[in-house]
Symmetry: C3
Subunit: 137 residues, 3 copies
Amino acid sequence: MNSHTKYLTFNTHKKREYLNITAEVEMAVREAKIREGMVLVSAMHITAGVFVNDNESGFLKDLDDFLERLAPEDAFYRHHQTGESNGDAHLKNIVVHHQVILPVTKGVLDLGPWQQVFYAEFDGQRAKRLIIKVMGE
Amino acid sequence: MNSHTKYLTFNTHKKREYLNITAEVEMAVREAKIREGMVLVSAMHITAGVFVNDNESGFLKDLDDFLERLAPEDAFYRHHQTGESNGDAHLKNIVVHHQVILPVTKGVLDLGPWQQVFYAEFDGQRAKRLIIKVMGE
Amino acid sequence: MNSHTKYLTFNTHKKREYLNITAEVEMAVREAKIREGMVLVSAMHITAGVFVNDNESGFLKDLDDFLERLAPEDAFYRHHQTGESNGDAHLKNIVVHHQVILPVTKGVLDLGPWQQVFYAEFDGQRAKRLIIKVMGE
C-alpha cells in the first residue's frame, strides 16, 4: 500500500469563497503513483467545507444564497457568547461537510464528467489548511 | 491490498427517485474477496446522491418533502440562466451528499440492523452512473 | 495493510445528545499500530450521526436548535404511520450524516487544531452502536 499526503493553505480575499481545487487533487494523485485507491480531501478547520459539484458560477451563487438562508451571518448564535462571530460558519460547515473521499482508477481521479472538487471557505481572510491523503496501490 | 471497481447505471422513470442498492453493494463486496476494508459508493453526477437510512416508504416520502422544502423545484436559481432547469437538484445533492463509505468486516458489509444504502436521483429520466470501489485485504 | 475494528455503545440520558468521542478514536488509532492511513467512524443506526466540529457548548446548542428548526420533533411525518415516533431523527441524520473518515499521519489522528469528533444521538435513551475502523500501514 502506498500513501501520499499534502497540505494546501488558503487565504481568501472574501469571508466566503468557493475554490475549485480539482487540479490540485489530480496532481496529488499523480504524485502518489498508485493505480487503484482513494483520496481523502478534508478541511482542517471547523468553518470550512469540501464538496463535489458543478464549476458554474450561477450554481456557486445559488449555493451561497442557500447556506446564508439556512444559517444567516447576522442571526443569533450562542457560540458568540465566547467572543467569536462565526456561528453561521460552523453551521454552514455542518451542511456542506468538511470532507470528500474520491475514487482513483487506473491512476487517475475517477469522477463523472461534471464533477469538480471545491474548497468552501466560510470564515476566510486568514490562513486555513486542507489535507489531501491518497491511499492505494 | 485488493481493490474491485464496479459501475452501475440508473435510468429512473420519475425525475426524483430513491433506490435501495444495498444488494448491489453487498455483491460488489463478495466479488472483491476481501475480509477487512471499506467500500466507497459514490454518484458520478452532480444532481444525485447516496445515503444510508431506513427502507421505509413513509420515511422516503418525508425525505423527498424535506428536500423539496429546502430547495424547491420551482424556485429562482441563477444556475437556470445557463439554460439548465435543475438548480434544485444541485442543492439537494449538497444536502444529501454524493457518497458514503461503508465498513467491510469478516468479508461482509458491516451495517447496523436497519441501515440500507440508497441511490437518490434528483434529475432522472436519463442514464446516470454510480461507482462502487472496494478496498481491503 | 493493517486494519483494526472497534465498536462503541452509547446509551444517552436525553433523547438528543452530542458526545465528544475524539479520545476514543485516538485510542483506536494507537491500537491499530499504523503510520499512514484512514479511520472510518460510522454510526450503525439511522437516527444518529457523526461529525467533526468545535467542542464548544454554545455551538453544540446552536447545532441542536438548527436541526430542530429544519426537522422539528413535533412536525407531521409519514414515517409515524408505521407506529414510530422518530421521523425527525431520520432527517437530522440526513443533514448531519452518519459517518466521517479521518486521516492518520505519522501514527496519529491528523486533525486541525479545533477539530473534534462527535457522536450525535437523535433518538437515544437506549443502546446504540458505532463502528471505528482503522486501515493503513
